[in-house]
C-alpha cells in the first residue's frame, strides 16, 4: 500500500499505514540483518548536517544490504557551484532507487517528490516536517506501552517551535490521548494545535511547573528549551533550570512511564536519569533504525 509513495509529511500516511510500519519495524528489530536491498542504491542527500538522522538512515540501509551514495553537507556539491535544487534532484533520481533528503528550505521535500522519478523520504525540511522521527516515536510508545490508545502524554520544553512535538501531537490525536503541555509561558503550544485538539474533543492541560505534573503520565517527552528562542535572555536565565528533569523527580511516577527525547540532549535531562529504567531515549534512537528500515522496505515494495 505504501509502495512508491513518498513520505514527506506525517499526514501523508493513514493510521493503517502507521501500524504496518510499526509491525514491520518489530520484525526488523527481531532480525535486523535482512539483505532485502541487494542491488539497490539509495541516495542520502544531506544539504545541511545532521549526524544522528543521517547515520540512523545509513545504518538502516546498510543493515538491509543496500548501497548508499550521497553527501553530508552541501558545500562540496554542485549546489555550491550554483546548480538549482531542481537539477540536483532530477539528476540523482536517475541514479538511485530511493532518495532520503534533508534540506533547510521548507517544502523542499514535497517539491522533490513532484519532480523525482523515485520516491523521496523527507529527513527534515527546515522547521516543517520530520516524519520518520514521528514514526520512531510512535514505535517507541507502542513498544513500551503495548498500545497507542488512551495514553497520557506529557510534552515538556519548547512547545512553540518544536517540530517533533507538533508532529507527535497530530499523529497521537488519532488514538484518544490526554496531553499535559509543560513549558515556559513564552514557549506554549501554538493556538492552532490547541484548536485542532478542541475540534477532535481531545483533553489537554497547560502547566509551567514540571515536577508535579508528570506523576500520572505514561510518556514524558522532553525537548530542549533553546537559548536562541528567547529575545529576553533574562527570561531564559529564569526558566533554563526549571525544565531539567532529574532522577528524584521520577519518584512516584507510574511504573510503565518512559522518558523520551528526540536527542541531542544538552542539559534538559540530568545524566542521573540515564540509569533509571524509565529512561528510554537511547533505545528510542535505536528504534529509529528499525523504523527507518521498515519505511524503506515498504516504500520499495520489499515487505
Amino acid at each position: 500500500m505504501m509502495k512508491n509513495k513518498s513520505l514527506i509529511s506525517i499526514s501523508d500516511y493513514t493510521k493503517e499505514e502507521y501500524f504496518r510500519i510499526l509491525e514491520v519495524a518489530a520484525e526488523f528489530e527481531k532480525n535486523p540483518n535482512q539483505k532485502l536491498l541487494d542491488n539497490y542504491v539509495v541516495a542520502s542527500l544531506f544539504f545541511e548536517p545532521s549526524t544522528r538522522t543521517r547515520l540512523s538512515f545509513e545504518t538502516a540501509i546498510q543493515r538491509l544490504g543496500g548501497r548508499v551514495i550521497g553527501f553530508s553537507e552541501a558545500t562540496n556539491t554542485s549546489q555550491a557551484k550554483g546548480e538549482s535544487f531542481n537539477d540536483t534532484i532530477m539528476t540523482i533520481s536517475k541514479y538511485a532507487d530511493l532518495i532520503v533528503m534533508r534540506h533547510p528550505i521548507e517544502g523542499s521535500a514535497r517539491y522533490a517528490s513532484e519532480i523525482s522519478r523515485v520516491p523521496i523520504i523527507n529527513a527534515g525540511d527546515g522547521s516543517n516536517q520530520h516524519p520518520t522521527q514521528c514514526l520512531l516515536d510512535l514505535y517507541s510508545i507502542y513498544k513500551t506501552q503495548g498500545t497507542l490508545e488512551n495514553l497520557k502524554l506529557c510534552l515538556v520544553g519548547d512547545l512553540k517551535y518544536g517540530r517533533t512535538v507538533h508532529s507527535l501531537l497530530m499523529a497521537m490525536s488519532e488514538f484518544n490521548p490526554t496531553f499535559n503541555f509543560i513549558s515556559p509561558a513564552s514557549l506554549r503550544m501554538p493556538q492552532e494545535y490547541k484548536d485542532y485538539l478542541d475540534s477532535k474533543g481531545i483533553k489537554y492541560n497547560e502547566y509551567e511547573e514540571l515536577e508535579p505534573n508528570i506523576k500520572d503520565a505514561d510518556i514524558v517527552y522532553v525537548t530542549r528549551v533553546q537559548r536562541e528562542r528567547f529575545s529576553d535572555l533574562l527570561e531564559y536565565e529564569k526558566v533554563k533550570n526549571v525544565y531539567v528533569l532529574k532522577n528524584k523527580m521520577l519518584e512516584g511516577t507510574k511504573d510503565n512511564m518512559r522518558v523520551l527525547h528526540p536527542l541531542p540532549r544538552v542539559n534538559e535531562i540530568d545524566t542521573d536519569v540515564d540509569s533509571n529504567p524509565k529512561a528510554y531515549y537511547f533505545e528510542q534512537a535505536e528504534n529509529g533504525v528499525y523504523t527507518r528500515m521498515a519505511i524503506i522496505a515498504l516504500i520499495l515494495g520489499l515487505k
Binding site: S9, S84, F85, I105, E106, G107, Y111, G126, Q129, D195
Partner: protein, 151 residues
C-alpha cells in the same frame, strides 16, 4: 445618488461592483490596471444600501479571466462582476473563492521553497474566524489575508 452619475457608464466591458471601500486599491493593483490600454473608471466611498459605502470599477472593452475572478474573490469575496454589452448587464456573477489558488499569490514564509526556486505556488483555501488563509502545499504554512501579496 446613482453611481452612473458619478462613474461614467461604459458601452462594453466589465463592471466590478459592491467592492468594500477599503479594498478598491488592492483590487486595482491585482487586476493590473497599469497594463490596460482601454479606459478604466473607478469611484470610491459611493453610497451602498448593503454596506454603507462601496467602491466600483468600470473597465471598457475587457472581460475578466477566471484567474482575474479568483484574484478578486481573494481580496473581496463580496464583490460582484457584471459583464456589459451595449450598456446593458448581460451577465452578473458573484465572485467565488476557489478551493485551490495557484501561481499568483506569494507564500509569506521566506524559508519556503517557492521563494528560493522557480516553483509555482500552490495553496488550499482555509477559513478561520471569518478570515481567509492560504495553506501552502510545500511549507504547509498559512498566509492569512492581511499578508496576501499578488505576484
Amino acid at each position: 445618488m446613482k453611481e452612473e452619475l458619478t462613474v461614467k457608464a461604459i458601452e462594453n466591458g466589465t463592471v466590478i461592483d459592491h467592492i468594500q471601500a477599503d479594498k478598491l486599491y488592492k483590487i486595482l493593483s491585482i487586476i493590473g490596471i497599469e497594463n490596460f490600454d482601454t479606459p478604466v473608471f473607478f469611484g470610491n466611498n459611493l453610497p451602498s444600501k448593503k454596506y454603507g459605502t462601496k467602491a466600483i470599477i468600470k473597465i471598457a472593452d475587457r472581460y475578466p479571466s477566471d484567474d482575474d475572478a479568483n484574484k478578486i474573490a481573494l481580496i473581496d469575496p463580496k464583490a460582484v462582476i457584471n459583464i456589459i454589452k451595449d450598456f446593458k448587464v448581460v451577465d452578473k456573477r458573484k465572485v467565488e473563492l476557489p478551493e485551490k489558488i495557484e501561481k499568483f499569490v506569494k507564500c509569506f514564509n521566506p524559508k519556503c521553497i517557492t521563494n528560493h526556486e522557480k516553483v509555482a505556488t500552490k495553496f488550499t483555501v482555509v477559513k478561520k474566524d471569518g478570515k481567509i488563509g492560504l495553506k501552502c502545499r510545500y511549507c504547509e504554512k498559512i498566509t492569512w489575508e492581511d499578508n496576501i501579496e499578488i505576484i
